[in-house]
Amino acid sequence: MARLKFLGSGLLVLALSLALVGCNGNDNGADKQGSVSGNSGGEVSGKLEPITISAFIKSANQQPTADNRIYKKIKDELGVTLKMEFLVGDLQQKLGVMIAGGDYPDIITGDTKLVGAKAVIPLEDLIEQHAPNLKKHYEKSWNRMKDSSDGHIYWLPNTGVFTGEVTATTHSGPAFWIQKEVLKEAGYPKLKTLDDYLKLIRDYAVKHPEIDGQPTIPFTTFASESKMFPLVNAPEHLAGYPNDGNVIVDNGVATVFSDKEISKRYYKELNTLYNEGLLDKEAFVQNYDQYLAKLSSGRVLGMFDQQWNFSKATEALVAQNKGNRTYVGIPLVYDSNIKDYYRDRSVANLNNGFGITKDAKDPVRIIKFLDTLITEDWQKLLNWGEKDIDYKVDENGLFYRTQEQREQQADPTWKLANKAEAFLAQAPKWEGTYSDGNASSPGGQPGEFYEVLKPWDKEVLDAYGYKSWTEFFSPAPENPVYYPAWQISLLDGSPAAIANKQMNDASLKFLPKVIMSKQDQFESTWNEYVNAFKKINVKAYEDRINEQIQWRIENWTNK
């Protein structure tokens, strides 16, 4: 009488799925065997024994397709199959488990924690003996690459190592941004100080209370736990300091500035704007999507931000044919006698890039492999692609891309099968120019830049007599030795790391209050903020930064 229908049907499905899993498993096994035997069969010399290098990459990327053109070339010519695992979820969690388990891939992307865990091996001898090209590539950065804990080199910085001429055409870093339309209406004035800028915005907002039928938002800002910089970094630039993150550095001594006078002056200006009704009321409540949506509507006249943080909004504006509402970056300062320091020279991306783990079977082979890839021909292949397929060469030997090729490059599906982006992003690479004068990657190629310039962009540049967006800024001076301080890592769970969190919390909590207070209450709310900082062990944070700055000055100057 009893009915087991429910269980029965379940078991049936179970049996079916077992069969399916079985099938799939078999398919895979067969595939693998096929490729392995195919490989070893094709191999002749013992020197290039095919190997598989496993890699863990700390950024999230999509797995390239199995028949990816570039990875296939690497495999065919260098005998190396790359087996990459990309991060999903939280990096610290992943590394914690990896370290606790003590099981590593052959190569892994940089994190100071791994040095502490002795998971990675020193590279300097390997490079000296087996990798002349890498040695040359990193020559200028060699001392900087040494770990401050024991003086060994563990990581091969992936970016910031320049060769030849640096051709920057756009500014992707911090700036005060203003709509091209606002500049145009005012007759393209030269803006130098925050006052100039705010006056321009005020005038425009009064004349145009609405844009496309919606209320104009003269100025906005953005702050969230993961992105504090649009709110808290502006003062250091206004005061003429470079981007050192949470600190300004005078004579090699770093000081936290968020609660100091240079910040107060900026927030006072924002407070005034707010009380005039010119600061976005929802600035501190909006989420990132809402922030981008606002910028994309074309009714935000200006903000302080880094270009890459809102580039999606720029694209959306262009797609709507509102190019006149896209932004120009201006290096504002408090007073006209201050020299702007928004642009900096790139520095080797320390503690980043690949390291070789203690579990790697053949470190020599790995370093030789990376050494081959840093040669010019391979760099061209990785950055530009294959000649005639991915780019063309004109009669002067300059590389360029056709419209069709450019569109291909924007197609994520195509890229998975035809580019080695995920690996290249972490690998040692050339930046600047090749020996034949071409830019290391298409984005830096002057021809490529002008090709994609829109009429409204040309109009702005012509009005100011500039050829590129970077000319709005003072050229980057030689970096201070220690620069940049934001790159200094805080040790896990240390008082400095905790103080950093607490400072961020205090800024997120009190700065909105300060800025949105009534004008006569500005002083008292500002004092609340300063008092909140007094309760934090700011000194622990500054001490860590200063100790590292000193270390850098000692160890990096005698280069």
């Binding site: 939280d90 610290q92 969690q93 590394l95 914690g96 488990v97 370290i99 606790a100 924690k113 502490g116 865990a117 002795k118 919606q214 702050a223 969230s224 736990e225 009321k281 929802e282 501190f284 409540v285 909006q286 989420n287 999507d289 809402q290 896990d492 769970g493 790391a497 905790i498 969190k501 919390d505 800024s507 997120l508 909590k509 009190f510 700065l511 909105p512 209050k513 309760k535």
Partner: protein
């Protein structure tokens, strides 16, 4: 027959082998029950209890870099950090409040929906509503909070538009920057997301009610509401009580995603929960020890809560957990 002093807690004493002969005899008659449950118990011990050695981390400055034997022991340092931080009380209050609001709103709305669904006689309609109402459960919090933020925005947010059209307010309300609305917004978001999902269990429980009870009530001339109140509700009372007790054990788990995604600097004193605090000062800075200490604290609170709730329920003669 049994010792009088032991008669008050017969089961417990039996377990501790005080009355050996009768226990062995009872066990031999329950061979099948033992076979059915003991392997499962062994499984639970292995997968849930054995790893508890990890709690020792709470008393160390644990770092995965070193072996377990090489860790530095620091006593109650992390507990002290947790409890002595000035925001701890605020965070505890927010956690308790939001957890309680979410739980109560969740229970009441799900039960009401289950009762009302039970009154829908058209089968396809009932099933469609069930299926549709459980859809939001499958959306991640980031999607749901994205929609919530857009509904509440000052700029043409639908809630402000409707309230203004109806004349309730003169100018848009800044819902997300006013601390006094935050708990309500979180509660409402939870209801929205999990209303339909929550009813499933009650709908299943309703099926166990003997239909003859309704027939008898019909004969007595009971109306719809009397039947709901006197038959359906008592029929699912045991599951309601059990779920309530179990959920009380999670009173310190108000979650972190919603609060993290909807919160902002302006309302942080009302939005931050224990989990967010631990995430920030524990996991995000690689401090596993603090996270473990917080976990132990939560476990202690859970045990006190369920033991208390279970005892009260027992005294009231209701269903209980143990």
């Amino acid at each position: 027959m049994a010792d009088i002093s032991m008669a008050t807690q017969p089961e417990k004493d039996a377990f501790f082998f005080h009355s050996r002969p009768s226990l062995l005899k009872r066990m031999s008659g329950q061979k099948q029950l033992i076979l059915m449950s003991l392997p499962v118990l062994a499984y639970v011990l292995l997968f849930s209890y054995y790893p508890i050695w990890g709690w020792s981390m709470a008393f160390q400055d644990y770092t995965p870099i070193k072996d377990f034997t090489e860790q530095t022991w620091v006593g109650f340092k992390h507990f002290k950090f947790l409890f002595s931080d000035s925001v701890f009380l605020t965070v505890l209050r927010n956690t308790l409040a939001m957890s309680f609001i979410n739980m109560m709103l969740g229970f009441v709305t799900s039960i009401i929906l289950a009762l009302l669904l039970n009154e829908v006689k058209v089968k396809w309609f009932k099933r469609s509503i069930q299926t549709i109402s459980y859809l939001p459960h499958f959306l991640s919090w980031i999607i749901v909070t994205g929609i919530v933020a857009n509904v509440l925005t000052v700029d043409n947010g639908i809630l402000n538009v409707v309230l203004m059209k109806l004349g309730f307010i003169d100018e848009p309300i800044m819902w997300l920057s006013n601390p006094k609305y935050f708990w309500a917004i979180v509660g409402a978001s939870h209801v929205w997301k999990d209303l339909g999902w929550g009813t499933i269990i009650y709908l299943a429980a309703i099926t166990s009610i003997d239909p003859s009870l309704y027939e008898a009530a019909d004969i007595d001339g009971a109306n719809r509401y009397q039947k709901m109140w006197n038959i359906t509700l008592p029929g699912i009372k045991s599951i309601i009580v059990i779920l309530l007790i179990m959920n009380l054990g999670w009173i310190l788990n108000a979650g972190f995603e919603v609060q993290y995604l909807l919160g902002n600097g302006v309302v942080v004193d009302w939005s931050q929960t224990i989990d967010i605090f631990v995430l920030k000062y524990g996991l995000q800075v690689g401090n596993y020890s603090l996270a473990t200490a917080a976990g132990i604290f939560k476990t202690v609170v859970s045990i006190v809560m369920i033991a208390g709730a279970n005892a009260i329920s027992k005294r009231l003669g209701e269903e209980r957990l143990v």
